[in-house]
């Protein structure tokens, strides 16, 4: 919304932005990061969704109206631009101290996630840079909302800090490319639902680097999965600017932990004759691929039983679909996107596969069998603040599939999942148990976005030299 104001100002048109009290600090930071620190703000006192009609009107007339008129007619004298700000060069030493002093310095400057970091020395950063042929100064992109440039050098520095190994660098670069892709919408990493980016690694590199795809998948504890997941959050903090307010841009009302990187049990997929997740994303089974998407809701551990696929599908539709994804489906409809991941236990996947079900058949079953009342979805969206959502209008305008506009009956049943092909299935977890879990995304914000991992020419030699003898 401040982005729209900035576009208007750059087109030569005066603007004012209406912001509620709890977001004023963030608005000031965003204005500065957009390069227009004196953008006019009109404060809505309190929480607009909690006020009665009468109180709402009173606040608009007594507070917002005069603030809008002032903002459009009087210049701000308090915030002025500073032009180009000088900041440290890549190899500049910004601090020198003991290990403990370095930790304190990084905490004090909000350069850490609150956990100890590996100190980013030039020597450590250079070890990461050996795993790419790219120029350290190369700008991969800029990351909103802080609008800072993300370079190959930055990727290495934050990879060091997150506790990654140097040989993870090709994965970190692919992750960085996803984060700067406008389709991913990194600018919304700090939106109030408090979603987290989740990285899924497909292809042979997962096995080669020791990513866990079996028992305890998505549990912290394996260096590859844990540190790569932490790296993604570190970039979102340090380059995109999403640290917790008041000093930063993160406005998660109630957040969640950074996500451990997910890897698929591709051997199980191949043995069952199923496509791998990487293939589902349009790549070859021999490609190593990073996919990042938002995760907002995690389902209960979903135990399904029986030797018939229908028995499992019915329970997955009930728990992962209606009960878990159903609540957020209304807001997702208002943003015309919904991309859940179902992490299917290998023992469950096998029941489907041996009975001739493909991943597409399971997707189709879930799409057809997860339904909710239209008025319930619209009610959830309204309460979430999406007050301009009208399901029938969205269907008429092509923002939702026709199934959402087949009648105007508020009690009609509409699909929880907007398109079967948007339901993602990853086979992972303990082969010795009958459990699956759903990871629900935040609609348009953090849509699944993939990049192929590029390895340096002498990868095998470098990998052998980098790893301890016990790992080779």
């Amino acid at each position: 919304m401040l982005r729209a104001s900035a576009v208007a100002e750059r087109a030569g048109v005066a603007s004012v932005s209406v912001i509620s009290t709890g977001f004023l600090q963030q608005a000031a930071l965003i204005s500065r990061n957009l390069g227009l620190p004196d953008m006019a703000i009109a404060e809505y006192p309190g929480v607009p969704m909690n006020d009665s009609l009468e109180e709402f009107r009173r606040k608009v007339e007594e507070h917002i109206y005069p603030a809008i008129v002032d903002g459009l007619m009087k210049s701000s004298a308090s915030r002025k631009s500073e032009g180009i700000v000088n900041e440290p060069e890549d190899r500049e030493i910004v601090y020198c101290g003991s290990f403990d002093e370095v930790q304190e310095h990084f905490h004090a400057n909000c350069w850490s996630d609150g956990l100890p970091i590996v100190p980013p020395t030039i020597e450590r950063v250079e070890r990461f840079l050996r795993f790419t042929t790219r120029d350290p100064q190369e700008v991969i992109g800029s990351l909103p909302l802080a609008h800072r440039k993300l370079t190959v050098w930055n990727v290495a520095v934050n990879g060091v800090m997150a506790g990654c190994r140097p040989e993870y660098m090709p994965i970190l670069l692919a992750a960085a490319e996803v984060l700067v892709d406008p389709k991913f919408k990194a600018e919304d990493c700090g939106s109030t639902p408090g979603w987290e980016p989740m990285l899924t690694l497909s292809g042979p590199l997962g096995r080669e680097l020791g990513f866990n795809s079996g028992q305890g998948a998505l549990r912290i504890g394996r260096q590859a999965n844990s540190s790569v997941g932490r790296f993604v959050r570190m970039i979102v903090r340090n380059v995109a600017g999403f640290t917790i307010s008041p000093e930063g841009l993160d406005k998660a009302t109630i957040g969640m932990n950074f996500q451990i990187a997910l890897a698929e049990n591709e051997d199980a997929c191949v043995q069952m004759g199923w496509t791998t997740y990487g293939q589902d994303r349009g790549f070859s089974i021999d490609d190593s691929v990073v996919t990042i998407q938002s995760v907002l809701i995690v389902s209960p551990p979903t135990y399904s039983a029986g030797d018939k696929p229908e028995e499992h599908a019915m329970l997955l539709a009930d728990v992962l679909g209606d009960r878990t994804a159903g609540y957020w489906a209304g807001v997702a409809m208002a943003y015309s996107n919904y991309h859940p991941i179902i992490v299917l236990g290998p023992a469950i996947a096998k029941i489907f596969a041996v009975n001739g079900w493909t991943k597409d058949m399971l997707r189709d079953y879930l799409y057809k069998n997860c339904r909710m009342k239209a008025k319930t979805a619209e009610g959830y969206a309204w309460a979430g603040g999406v007050t301009g959502f009208d399901m029938n209008r969205y269907a008429r305008e092509g923002l939702l599939p026709p199934a959402y506009g087949e009648s105007t009956d508020p009690d009609r049943l509409v699909p929880v999942f907007q398109r079967p092909e948007w339901i993602q299935i990853v086979v992972a977890g303990d082969n010795g148990r009958n459990q699956s879990k759903g990871y629900i995304n935040n609609h348009l914000q953090g849509v699944p976005t993939s990049r192929k991992v590029t390895l340096p020419p002498d990868w095998k030699v470098m990998l052998a030299a980098s790893r301890p003898a016990s790992a080779n």
């Binding site: 104001s5 048109v13 603007s15 350069w111 348009l444």
Partner: protein, 101 residues
């Protein structure tokens, strides 16, 4: 224990700072528009505010948020790019951007 020399973990700013454009001296006969993210009752705010402004500034014209579309929805990037052209097309003098909450 020896000291450790460390480098900076942030990226450099991509946008140099500038000031906003001149404000509007008088809205009489001028055109005001809304750009709305379809959130938090922004349509109601815009209606109430422009009704009061129209009483105070004779001849003030209003351009609806519908002209600009939902700038927070699935077409966000495409619609934001269209904003400058639409502002020129409708001869807009000032914008109210709604609602951050």
């Amino acid at each position: 224990m020896s000291n450790i020399e460390v480098v900076w973990p942030l990226g450099k700013k991509a946008n140099p700072e500038t000031d906003t454009v001149a404000r509007v001296e008088d809205f009489s006969g001028k055109t005001i528009a809304a750009i709305w993210d379809y959130l938090f009752r922004g349509d109601e705010i815009f209606r109430i505010v422009t009704e009061k402004m129209a009483e105070r500034f004779p001849g003030m014209k209003v351009v609806s948020y519908e002209v600009f579309g939902n700038n927070h929805g699935s077409r966000q990037h495409e619609l934001i790019k269209q904003v400058p052209d639409k502002l020129r097309q409708h001869k807009v003098d000032a914008v109210i951007s709604l609602v951050g909450a």
